[in-house]
Subunit: 339 residues, 2 copies
DNA sequence: CCATAGGTTGTTATCGATAACAAGCGATCC
DNA sequence: GGATCGCTTGTTATCGATAACAACCTATGG
């Protein structure tokens, strides 16, 4: 049944069938204004009857625009990454872009280079870097110079646009909430060392404590995983004077709560816990997790919007460096109690 | 500082600098065997000094291969989707493909068509459909005929390859575990109605019960979300003779456990619960969740492998319809007890 | 009634690479 | 020593579209 079509129909075929030139077909398909209605009609019909589909590759070659945007991200399979990517994809689709996706395993400059160059080689019009790395390399900078880009999370060097979430503020919200409830000994389980998010959240936590005149204990580093939160919990649960912990991600908070509970300390009666993210399962934690929501899908959309407008200006050459910060929101559930 | 390069260097530029023809440059860059070592060397140097990068668009146009594979998936930001996509991306990268990603919001034939045609228009070499829909439309079939494709989850009609996980077996494993522990009244919270996964898991559950000579209660439908699991829990928790529930996803299991616990029924003492997926948080559920692991990253990799080999054969025209089933594994934690 | 303007359509060149063919050249073989 | 072989390199055509220019035709105005 499936007859093998020797070749997909080209513009020439459509033109021939409609009795016009290829150029006219092109005009019709691009909605140029100056085409006679009947011609337009005829071309449309011919195209439909042949099942014609415009060849994006050829267009890209001649126009210099591929209408693809590249996304590079860490390959952690976390909720947050996925939500971000879905946000990006939606907005991109709405604006007529398709999304090419590259994930890297580690944060080394090597693999960052490798990933970026895959995207550039693929001919994307712009790149969204959803990578939380701090430093970078000359090679990376030069790659990012070849193509307009927007950074999520990380303030990468080149005069780039940034679509971000106010991490410091988020952390401050969480900690202030604990302070309001009367806690004075508030610990922090942070993300891994070289992540900007980790730093920002540490900063927010520290700021909040200091402005309240409270003592700042040492932070404990995790790696975003629930398992690392569990390990932190095994430590903190053994310290009797710890009554509150601000955890840098919901997933780590799950682990921490499990650990301290196993050690016989009740949450929130003995220890209050606040997370960050508001993952889908946060309300179903035992107890339901108080957390700061990150509107990730929105962040993804913003990133695409900025990239799109940057691509628009690109022709003209305007290049201001605006940053759009998104405001976090505290979600109070039951993992925090008044002291 | 950032000088605007009027145009990226082309093969011609490299050729000129190296004092050879464009074709020779092409040969060097494609690692053709018959090139004199010094020529090769000279070309390589010229390319490096110009910062030359091969234009994938032009290559794609002339070779007819874009080295892009398309992935279409539902835009649920679940853990599993992300894991799958990461698996796909890794394997694709390893085989020299880049991945273009389209997510759709609903399972209507309309949006499926829309998404697929975006991919086809973009010129992908092959498509991985990670969409759990049962039915489809003529238009969809015709789109899938234009391009080789592999289905994950769903047995889409066209003589497609399928990379799948043995859902029926997985469900059976879960239920048999409960039966072994002495349970006789085992309920099921299923996924949404028109998903193949839901059906397969229902089938497995039913099979296991029937072969044990047990009664089959009516299934309760959820939508994979923790919230829907919670609702199911509010129902099942009120039925005193229910001692075991097999839940079609870990996320729903989290919700269910929360609900029945709130109703005063202890897990696993009063009610045993088994999920499916083994999400990262499963061990940190209260109590730690017994579940059946889905090796999603592996499934993603398999899908790419099959697609790649299909793309290879495509030239020759072989087209058998092999299916690779991946075996599930039961992970016993503490949410199930002996009756 | 001719000149000009503007709408409509066609022609040609081009984007950046590769495939297919052609040519040059030294070595091997009889 | 001449013919053939095989390695190396260059030439030309092509992929499928669009940009830029050219040509034609129909109104409109003087």
């Amino acid at each position: 049944m499936a007859q093998k079509p020797s070749r997909a129909p080209s513009m020439r075929d459509v033109a021939q069938l409609a009795g016009v030139s290829a150029q006219t077909v092109s005009r019709v398909l691009s909605d140029h204004p100056n085409v006679q209605p009947d011609t337009r009609q005829a071309v449309r019909e011919a195209a439909r009857s042949l099942g014609y589909r415009r060849n994006a590759t050829a267009r890209a070659l001649v126009t210099g625009r591929s209408n693809m945007i590249g996304v590079i991200t860490l390959s952690t399979s976390s909720y947050s990454r996925m939500t971000l990517i879905v946000g990006i994809e939606r907005e991109a689709a709405a604006r007529g872009y398709s999304v090419t996706f590259v994930s890297i395993t580690d944060l080394s400059a090597r693999s960052l280079e490798e990933g970026l160059s895959r995207l550039v080689a693929q001919g994307v019009d712009g790149i969204i870097t959803a990578i939380p790395l701090q430093g970078s390399s000359a090679e990376v900078e030069s790659l990012l110079n070849e193509v307009p880009s927007v950074a999520i999370d990380s303030p990468l060097p080149a005069g780039q646009q940034v679509a971000a979430f106010d991490q410091v503020h988020a952390a401050r919200l969480a900690v202030e909430h604990l302070i309001e409830r009367g806690h004075t000994n508030i610990w922090h389980v942070a993300g891994p060392q070289d992540w900007v998010e980790s730093d920002a959240r540490i900063t927010g936590w520290r700021d909040a404590l200091e402005s309240a005149g409270l003592q700042v204990p040492p932070e404990i580093y995790g790696d975003w995983s629930a398992a690392s939160g569990y390990r932190a919990g095994l430590i903190l649960g053994r310290m009797p004077d710890v009554t509150a912990v601000f955890v840098a991600s919901d997933e780590m908070a799950f682990g921490l709560i499990k650990a301290v509970t196993e050690l016989g300390r009740a949450v929130p009666e003995d220890i209050s816990v606040v997370g960050i993210d508001d993952i889908e399962l946060a309300p179903y934690c035992t107890p339901p997790l108080t957390t700061v929501r990150q509107p990730l899908e929105e962040i993804g959309r913003h990133a695409v919007q900025q990239l799109d407008s940057e691509l628009g200006e690109h022709a003209q050459g305007g290049s201001r460096n605006q940053t759009r910060l998104i405001t976090p929101e505290l979600i109070v559930r039951s993992s925090t109690s008044t002291r």
